[in-house]
């Protein structure tokens, strides 16, 4: 999926929000029978809240959360610090310059509430990376890699919950199920060669994950702030380790009706350079072959829409579409900046029925 005109997507999202609001107000008219709902039932109606997509969250005992997510991330050209480079600038120092990249990710996640305090999570990713590069001769080269990425497992502990506020901490690990030996054919020599760092599917190491999150909600709104971190503590078999990653997320969701919510998120991400060096990569080939040109920071804003089945056999099934746009990036470069993310999520939360 390629989105060529981001402005149109952004405008469409806003229009969709307002159409949704109007539809909901129209739907809320009437519904006289609801007045006859007995108090015994009223006090057991779940005060379902809006999604704050992407933030860590706990589940009640016995609840299952199944999620499939499709992510499309587009990148164009390169950037050094916060300034775009031209291709010729990059080719002064390297044999090839990256021009375009698309990262498609299919993600599957399962969460289970073991107790009201502890929730377990497992997440697997399948990546499909495509990158276009240009050589000094002007010849264009395409390369691609696909396969399973690293698998994440986490345990989330709900440390505090009272009225509308909860604080939780997660500890987990990223398991090295993704390949770090993806190869492609060198167009000049015809030989099979190791692909650069950004085309590898995994880290090659077991990486500790530590998150902390605050979530608050009313019946209509949910908000939260989370700090997420991934630590790389040793070198992989190819004699390098990816940089540590840190992320701060500020999210807000508003439940317009039982079936429609809107979400917004502000993310700040930081990541370090690669330590060590893959001996199979020649750092003169392209900036993506250099371990010391990987660090950076990114500020992003996103808007999303969530549609949920409010009752019936598929109660709790939810579809969410989220468009994310970086508004500031500072990269140790030349490095490829992100143009946009589009995320489509299908999830189903099955709660244990209360009395």
């Amino acid at each position: 999926m390629r989105i060529k005109n981001h402005k149109n997507v952004f405008l469409a999202l806003i229009i969709w929000c307002f159409i949704g609001l109007e539809c909901t107000y129209a739907q809320n008219k009437g519904n006289k029978d609801f007045y006859e709902t007995k108090i015994e039932e009223l006090i057991n109606i779940p005060l379902d809240k809006a999604s704050v997509i992407g933030l860590p969250h706990p589940h009640q005992k016995g609840a299952w959360h199944f999620q499939y997510r499709y992510m499309d991330m587009g990148m164009t050209g390169t950037m050094t610090s916060d300034k775009k480079n031209t291709t010729s600038e990059v080719l002064k120092n390297f044999m090839m310059a990256p021009t375009k990249m698309h990262m498609h990710t299919d993600m599957g996640m399962i969460m289970y509430g073991v107790t009201n305090k502890w929730t377990l999570m497992a997440m697997a990713n399948y990546y499909n990376f495509e990158m276009d590069m240009i050589m000094m001769t002007g010849k264009e080269v395409k390369m691609g890699s696909k396969g399973f990425g690293d698998t994440k497992i986490k345990a989330t502990y709900l440390a505090y919950y009272k009225n509308r506020a909860s604080i939780m901490a997660s500890i987990g690990a990223s398991l090295p199920t993704g390949s770090i030996n993806q190869t492609s054919m060198n167009m000049m020599t015809g030989q099979i060669e190791q692909m650069p760092y950004n085309m590898q599917l995994g880290s090659g190491t077991v990486d500790p994950l530590i998150d902390i999150c605050y979530l608050g909600s009313t019946m209509k709104s949910s908000w939260g702030i989370a700090a997420l971190s991934t630590f790389r503590v040793y070198n992989n078999k190819n004699k390098y380790r990816l940089g540590n990653q840190y992320k701060i997320m500020l999210g807000y969701g508003y439940k317009v009706s039982n079936w429609f919510s809107v979400t917004s998120r502000f993310d700040i991400g930081f990541w370090n350079n690669i330590r060590g060096k893959d001996p199979n990569l020649n750092p003169m080939v392209s900036p993506n072959h250099r371990p010391d040109l990987r660090a950076g920071s990114r500020f992003e804003l996103s808007g999303g829409l969530a549609l949920k089945v409010p009752k019936g056999a598929f109660e709790g099934l939810e579809f969410i579409i989220d468009y994310r746009q970086p508004f500031y990036q500072r990269l140790k470069g030349p490095q490829m900046p992100v143009d946009h993310h589009i995320v489509g999520t299908l999830q189903w939360i099955l709660k244990r029925k209360s009395r």
């Binding site: 007045y35 709902t37 015994e40 209509k220 508003y254």
Partner: protein, 182 residues
Amino acid sequence: MVCRITYHLNRIKLKTIIWLIFFLVFTFRTAGAQEFDAKLQIVFIYQITHYFQWPNDNSETFIIGVIGQSPILNELQKLAAAKKINNKTIIIKQFDNSSSISDCHILFIPYKESARIENIKKSIKGRHTMLISEKPGMAEKGTCINLVNIDGTMKFELNKSSCKSSGLRTTPMIEKLAIIIK
């Protein structure tokens, strides 16, 4: 340092400003949202009247008052148009402050008006008015019924002594469903 920040701010483009405005407006527009869904509260208020008896009530109307502004007012008007309580027409009154409170069977105190509780109690003293609130801790402060969010469901706290001092008689059934405070 200041020059560096200014330099980076200058590089932020128009689309960034649009995104920021969207995010901030969106956040603050809904920041004052009420604790519970107004419709759910209205149904609760309507249903709770079946479990209480107001003493010496010969009036032809059933008056529900709201102190201050609240999204619940709109839903109350819909209730008044659709239903009757004990065969009485429902009248909705909105009071700007505690000194303007007149006779009403139920007075709803929205979340953001909770700080006025002491003045409200003085205003309704000697009247048979049931106070209903929606902020944690309000039942202890003297409202008859307080709506609370417990484990993701709307529960209600019942302050029996507040009900008694307003001359309202509760039923064993409602005491069974409530969280008894006093």
